[in-house]
């Protein structure tokens, strides 16, 4: 019976299609066609929103698996362990994973060319749209900006790439769609050209869409990247087909042009008078630390400094983010099972200056001999400095340390965050990273500083929820509300470009090129220091600029590319252990409450090495796209 019915259906469908000659020309009703979307200014707006969402912005949803890793369509499981890009650098380690830069990390090939295809389609129709001339210029500028962004993201990953300057038409042969790689020089020059087109067409203004200033900011960053590659390329010589065909690598003589492009772009922003540092003159270091924290907790309160903000306005898949659940300390997890993943390293903490000795990094001294290179662990033979609290040892360090990391036993959300690695018993025997307790004169002391796992945030391997470096994470964290224990519920916005980065780009371009206005560059550098509570100035030197950059922009996903573009990754990471500080209560001092500190390699980790080939990602799919592969892949 069923079969009969089906046959009738098939027959009638066949009849119907036979009678209707143009059935294949029917417009599908579940798709919007190009004419409809581009014919209506509202449609163009929607299309633009999609393009902006595809921008390769390395924000809170950027992980080694890719961009928009927050439940957006086309991405994988949002539960990636919370392994942030900072953990592929010397800024942080993960509380559990020992991973480093892997071959498949930070790839952006297919999605990059998808965005370029999408923006090229828009560029095709801009001349035909029924809109006013200023709107047309704005769209032209925005599409150049988006394309520049895309090619910048490709160039810094792959070197020279195929430049698809216009949308491609399929004429029946796949071969005609294949475009060989351009040289790295041509690729960077194309990024510059697109930035210039964006700058020329975009109006000044502020907001969350591209403006003349965001285009200048992008150019500043991209030009500095290219200039650094040209200048520092010889630090990591490479060989292979891609090198001999100039598909990767720039000449040192190219550096000057890119540095001067960077300088000009920075000066355009600085001289516009539109931007200034957020709360530039704090009364003291405590205020400076709080100002710095506020800048990131809500960038919308700092629109003088924030040049371009990416919003995470609405909780939910594809719109919210997960920094709060992954990285707030264990004690404030609020029922979320996987907090505390971001562990800032002692190596980063060492870098921050002390107000006592400005102009140089101030490694944390734990012993009377002052040796900061001894990572052999606790020894009764050494004399440790004693402190009254687990954070006194960091006193007088740059305010930005206090605004970036949660230091042992400092307050967060109104409670002291307990980070303690153990104690030294009255007999001098140390108990470190073992759950233990001892009762002396009626008082019980705990190795981790408190009796139960909900009451401390350090060193216990329980759940992988506790820091193993001695530091938890503060920058970007929302202090105002309890953690919402679910995926993609965070709504803190991300600052993609901010004025401080422009000042630092400017200082670096001037000092590295030896050209430009050194006085203005030094002034910008010292403005940033002043905002951090420093009262003295430093000279414009390469070391000062790099240290300032690392502490000011820490965890903003700049460090990875700084190590890449300055070709420092393979020398900085050659069998390198990251380091921790172990706060121990010294029970020998009882009845006084005293703490000592031990510098060690991060527990349960292996040394990390950066392979020089990883300065470029491998190009996926060379079997079908026929491109020349990057060396050693």
């Amino acid at each position: 019976m069923k079969w009969k019915k089906a046959r009738i259906y098939i027959f009638s469908v066949a009849l119907f299609t036979a009678s209707c000659a143009k059935v294949l020309d029917l417009e599908p009703t579940d798709r919007i066609t190009a004419d409809v979307i581009f014919g209506d200014p509202q449609g163009v707006k929607l299309y633009m929103a999609d393009l902006y969402s595809q921008l390769p912005i390395e924000d809170f949803a950027y992980f080694r698996q890719g961009f928009n890793w927050n439940g957006s369509p086309g991405t994988g499981d949002v539960n990636n362990g919370g392994f942030a890009p900072a953990m592929s650098t010397d800024e942080a380690v993960h509380s559990e994973f020992g991973d480093f830069v892997g071959n498949d990390d930070f790839q952006w090939w297919d999605k990059g060319y998808k965005l370029i295809r999408d923006v090229n389609l828009l560029i095709d129709v801009i001349p035909t749209l029924n809109i006013k001339d200023d709107e047309r210029a704005a769209l032209t500028g925005e599409s150049a900006f988006i394309k520049a962004y895309a090619y910048f993201a490709l160039a810094k990953r792959y070197g020279g790439v195929p430049l698809i300057k216009e949308s491609q038409k399929y004429d029946g042969t796949a071969e005609s769609l294949k475009v060989p790689r351009s040289t790295e020089k041509q690729t960077w020059d194309y990024v510059m050209e697109l930035c210039d087109a964006a700058i020329a067409n975009l109006a000044p203004g502020k907001g969350r869409r591209a403006s003349k200033w965001t285009a200048y900011a992008l150019k500043s960053r991209a030009a500095l990247h290219a200039a650094s590659l040209a200048k520092f390329g010889p630090r990591a010589p490479m060989s292979g087909d891609a090198v001999s065909q100039n598909l990767i690598g720039l000449n040192t003589s190219d550096a000057a042009g890119y540095y001067s492009a960077c300088i000009a772009a920075c000066e355009a922003i600085i001289n516009s008078g539109e931007f200034r540092l957020f709360r530039p003159s704090p009364a003291n270091a405590n205020e400076a630390a709080e100002n710095y924290r506020l800048l990131f907790q809500d960038p919308n309160g700092a629109t003088d400094e924030a040049i371009f903000i990416k919003g995470f306005t609405i909780p939910g898949n594809g719109t919210g983010q997960n920094y709060d659940i992954w990285y707030q300390p264990a004690q404030v997890a609020n029922g979320w099972p996987h907090p505390g993943r971001m562990n800032p390293t002692l190596d980063l903490v060492d870098l921050y200056e002390s107000y006592d000795n400005p102009g140089q990094s101030a490694p944390i001294v734990t012993t009377t001999d002052g040796n900061v290179n001894d990572y052999n662990g606790y020894s009764t033979a050494k004399t440790y400095l004693r402190f009254d609290t687990p954070n006194d040892i960091f006193k007088n360090k740059d305010a930005r340390l206090w605004g970036t990391a949660i230091l042992p036993q400092t307050n967060w959300k109104g409670i002291p965050i307990i980070i303690q690695a153990g104690y030294v018993k009255p007999d001098g025997q140390a108990v470190i990273r073992v759950k233990d307790e001892i009762t002396i004169n009626g008082t019980t002391y705990y190795t981790y500083g408190a009796p139960s796992t909900t009451m401390y945030s350090g060193f216990d391997t329980y759940g992988g929820n506790n820091t193993r470096t001695g530091f938890s994470f503060k920058k970007f964290m929302n202090q105002n509300a309890p953690v919402v224990p679910g995926w993609n519920q965070g709504t803190t916005d991300f600052i993609e470009f901010r004025y401080a980065e422009i000042l630092l780009n400017y200082a670096e371009a001037v000092v590295e090129s030896g050209t430009g206005n050194a006085a203005a560059a030094a002034a910008g550098l010292n403005d940033i220091r002043k905002r951090a509570g420093h009262t003295s100035t430093v000279a414009l030197t390469s070391d000062n600029v790099q240290r300032e950059r690392r502490v000011e922009l820490a965890f903003e996903n700049k460090r990875f590319w700084d190590l890449i573009r300055r070709r420092e990754f393979h020398t900085q990471f050659n069998n390198r252990f990251m380091h921790s500080i172990l706060p121990l209560q010294d029970l020998r001092a009882l009845p006084d409450k005293k703490y000592i500190f031990v510098r060690v390699n991060v527990p349960n980790t292996n040394p990390k090495t950066f392979e020089t080939r990883a300065y470029y990602r491998y190009i996926p799919g060379i079997g079908s796209n026929g491109l020349v592969q990057n060396p050693q892949y």
Binding site: P237, S239, N376, T609, I622, G623
Partner: protein
């Protein structure tokens, strides 16, 4: 009945569409040594991030390159290659570059490379002196470039080297070496007591790196102390 027919039909389809895999497993192999052209000794290498042998199998267009690694003692072997003609070229090595060659690999093929190492370490001694391990050696370089650095490396594994070490004592030279000078490096065992445990034997190996592109270090054989 219909059901059975359709199952048979699908089964038939499945069988006709899937021929038995009739290709042989790789049954050829390539092995050999890197031999110093002057001394006839094996040229010491690194097993990770060391010299590699780039091989390109003919007949597959612009395919993927394959890389063979070289063992620390300067020998190499890949016993699972498909019999075919290959273009073979050692790359990123610690010796003066050699030309690529086309080799027909059938069965167990042997291919030795006679090379001139960038640097030879001569009169090498590595000894334990109290709580220090001291290495001393002379350098003989075969190219005019600077020597970038020299190093003494320690590891619990015999494949110790610059990329694979627990502790390193390195010195930047950035100069042409003096053939008559004796270079010394030392590792303080006490200062590294967390990684070099007292009472355990470790391997020590001295090396030198020429300042040429992506060249690799030259070594003397490792010593167990």
């Amino acid at each position: 009945m219909n059901k059975i027919i359709s199952i048979l039909f699908i089964g038939l389809l499945a069988f006709t569409s899937c021929k038995k895999d009739n290709y042989d497993a790789p049954n050829a192999g390539l092995s050999g040594r890197f031999v110093d052209a002057e001394t006839g000794e094996l040229v010491q290498q690194d097993i990770i991030r060391g010299t590699q042998i780039e091989i390109f199998e003919h007949g597959y267009g612009t395919g993927q390159l394959q890389y063979l690694i070289v063992k620390n003692d300067g020998t190499y072997e890949n016993s699972l290659l498909f019999a075919n003609t290959y273009t073979i070229k050692p790359v990123r090595g610690n010796f003066i570059a050699v030309e690529p060659q086309d080799i027909n690999i059938q069965g167990k093929t042997t291919l030795d490379f006679t090379v001139t190492p960038y640097i030879r370490l001569k009169d090498v001694s590595i000894n334990k002196n109290g709580n220090k391990v001291v290495a001393s050696f002379k350098l003989e370089q075969k190219v005019i470039n600077n020597i970038k650095k020299i190093g003494l490396y320690a590891h619990s594994d015999s494949r110790v080297g610059e990329p694979m070490r627990l502790v390193a004592a390195e010195q930047e030279l950035n100069a042409v070496s003096d053939p008559n000078h004796t270079y010394t490096l030392e590792i303080d065992l006490d200062a590294n007591s967390s990684v070099l445990k007292a009472g355990t034997s470790y391997y020590f190996r001295a090396g030198a790196l020429i300042d040429i592109g992506d060249a690799k270090l030259n070594y003397a054989p490792a010593v167990k102390l």
